[in-house]
């Protein structure tokens, strides 16, 4: 079997032809399992004709704490930049959706688990500020393990910074659509991911504040099935809807038209 052509679905375990998955927006054709996708795939999927202009790209992370765990943070950054060809864990872009100009920041889990350090906080903030300046709606696609430990308390402060920027977007009466994908936890959930005028998620995405393992260790019992998954959050009132990836773009365009009072 050629590893490059075939892959196994994480969910149904079927062996699938990779091209079939890609053609299906990286969703398993057999069981609808939503594979994680890169920021650039996400942006191409959302914008009209897959066309967009990336901005704030050359903002780079700094190992200002000289953080060393089992590896140097500076080394980790270099490795992740090489692996993903990205400078950091989110990509800001501007373009149109259904002809409506929008700013989108799409996170990339492949870059250090989509963790939020100074750069992610700065870029999300700039995305919100640009939306205010240019009077456009803002969309953030979250995919993140939370605040980045290697930047210490300054990572934590990004929660305030981004939330305060969203407060300004709100004051400007501009729509913010939060799209939450698997997984989104910790500080990311506890800031912009939960602050949308609408919060929507892809099916079966892990979404929560505390990680499931931490909760299990705390309460010393097994967690119920489906706990902290999209459908669970929908049921508990944290989401406006759960959207299949194939329906996401059309859903967002409809939402934008409603928020902007633009019937077809």
């Amino acid at each position: 079997m050629n590893d490059n052509l075939w892959t196994r679905c994480n969910s149904c375990q079927r062996i699938l032809y990779k091209a079939d998955i890609l053609e299906n927006l990286s969703v398993c054709p057999a069981c609808s399992f939503h594979f994680r996708i890169s920021a650039s795939e996400r942006l191409a999927m959302l914008f009209d004709d897959g066309q967009f202009e990336v901005f704030d790209h050359a903002i780079l992370p700094v190992d200002f704490l000289k953080f060393v765990d089992t590896q140097k943070y500076s080394q980790r950054l270099g490795d992740n930049q090489k692996k993903t060809s990205l400078p950091e864990a989110t990509v800001n872009a501007v373009g149109t959706m259904g002809g409506i100009k929008v700013v989108i920041s799409a996170m990339d889990f492949a870059f250090m688990g989509g963790s939020m350090g100074s750069v992610v906080g700065e870029k999300i903030t700039r995305a919100a500020e640009r939306a205010v300046r240019e009077k456009t709606p803002l969309i953030i696609v979250s995919c993140s393990g939370g605040a980045r430990m290697q930047e210490g308390a300054l990572s934590l402060m990004q929660l305030i910074k981004t939330s305060a920027a969203l407060a300004r977007l709100e004051e400007a009466k501009l729509p913010f659509i939060s799209v939450i994908t698997d997984p989104t936890t910790g500080g990311t959930t506890a800031s912009y991911a939960m602050l949308g005028d609408i919060n929507i998620a892809e099916p079966n995405a892990l979404i929560g504040f505390a990680g499931p393992r931490v909760i299990e260790q705390t309460i010393k019992e097994k967690l119920p099935k489906g706990f902290q998954r999209s459908e669970f959050l929908l049921k508990h009132g944290m989401l406006d809807d759960v959207m299949q990836r194939k329906n996401l773009r059309a859903y967002i365009i409809r939402a934008l038209r409603l928020f902007l009072n633009r019937p077809q």
Binding site: I59, F67, M149, A153, Q158, A190, F209, Q228, M238
Partner: protein
């Protein structure tokens, strides 16, 4: 790295000296004042030997010290007529958070903070100072009340973190924190935050948005607990010291990083060795900070608050 000594071992001599002071204070013997002053001097000398060598995990132990003054101790020492306001009007009254109105320096203020328990029973009742979403929603409710009436807000931060439980997730722990951050960032009254013990991640941050952020000298403020960081990055519970060291969680580190505005000094031995002195120090800095903020027009206050957090973070722009 060798494991550093337990702080409780380190402080033994100081605790003994403090117990002697307490006994003398209760007695009716002559020359009390001189004797106490002498013992205090000894504590100071002893502390001068210990303090410079304290490791970050020892600081964490001081911040978590079971005798350390808690939120309500400050409220009772510094404020008058505290009227506790209960409940989030949505689900419950979270006992890990206390909030209400009180008089401070002759004017009404709102005060909110996480509250830990002193005895085993109290600790359980207070959920170890780990709030559920309703705690943050209660805090926000009282802060909104303060904004409505134009009262300054004081927050006293002391929590290991937001509670990680099933109910907390069901009721939107993340949403509660996020919403606090957003709403508090635009509240049109002066807000002073004081980290008095543990500044545990998002659970601390949810009442940590303000115009002046201060930390007691031996408190800590961290993106994740050193234990949590050690478990995730080192996958080793013995790496707590390295985790604490690397994350730079001490007051001086955070002042250097621009996360906080001021360090409030603690008496020799730490806040718990001389609570009265600790209250005095907090009182002084709290009052100074509030006086300064109250002179600012609201628009200026809000713009400065936005810019304060806007500037946080270190990036390289090409």
């Amino acid at each position: 790295m060798s494991k550093s000594l337990d702080f409780y071992q380190l402080e033994k001599k100081i605790v003994e000296l403090k117990e002697q002071i307490d006994q003398i204070q209760l007695s009716e013997e002559q020359g009390k004042k001189e004797k106490v002053a002498g013992l205090k001097l000894e504590i100071e000398k002893e502390w001068a030997k210990i303090a410079p060598k304290l490791t970050p995990t020892q600081i964490v132990q001081i911040a978590r010290h079971p005798k350390r003054p808690y939120c309500l101790d400050y409220v009772n020492a510094l404020m008058q007529d505290f009227m506790e306001m209960h409940g989030d009007r949505r689900f419950a009254d979270d006992t890990a958070v206390v909030s209400g109105l009180a008089f401070y320096k002759g004017q009404t203020v709102a005060v909110v903070g996480q509250q830990k328990g002193r005895t085993t029973r109290e600790r359980i009742e207070r959920n170890f100072g780990e709030p559920n979403p309703e705690g943050y929603r209660k805090a926000l409710r009282i802060m909104k009340t303060a904004e409505k009436f134009g009262f300054p807000i004081i927050t006293l931060i002391d929590t290991p973190g937001a509670y990680p439980g099933i109910g907390a997730e069901e009721r939107g722990q993340a949403e509660a924190i996020a919403n606090n951050l957003k709403v508090i960032s635009t509240m049109g009254v002066p807000i002073v935050c004081v980290i008095i013990g543990e500044g545990g991640s998002g659970g601390a941050l949810a009442i940590g948005v303000g115009d002046t952020i201060m930390m007691l000298e031996n408190s800590f403020y961290s993106v994740i607990s050193p234990e949590g960081c050690a478990a995730i990055l080192w996958k080793d519970q013995n790496a707590v010291e390295q985790a604490a060291q690397n994350m730079k969680i001490r007051a001086q580190d955070l002042l250097d990083l621009g996360v906080i505005d001021k360090i409030i000094p603690e008496p020799p031995g730490g806040a718990h060795i001389d609570c009265e002195q600790t209250f005095k120090n907090v009182d002084k800095h709290l009052n100074q900070a509030l006086k300064k903020l109250e002179q600012k027009p609201v628009q200026e206050l809000l713009e400065e608050r936005y810019q304060k957090f806007r500037k946080m973070g270190i990036v390289l722009e090409k």
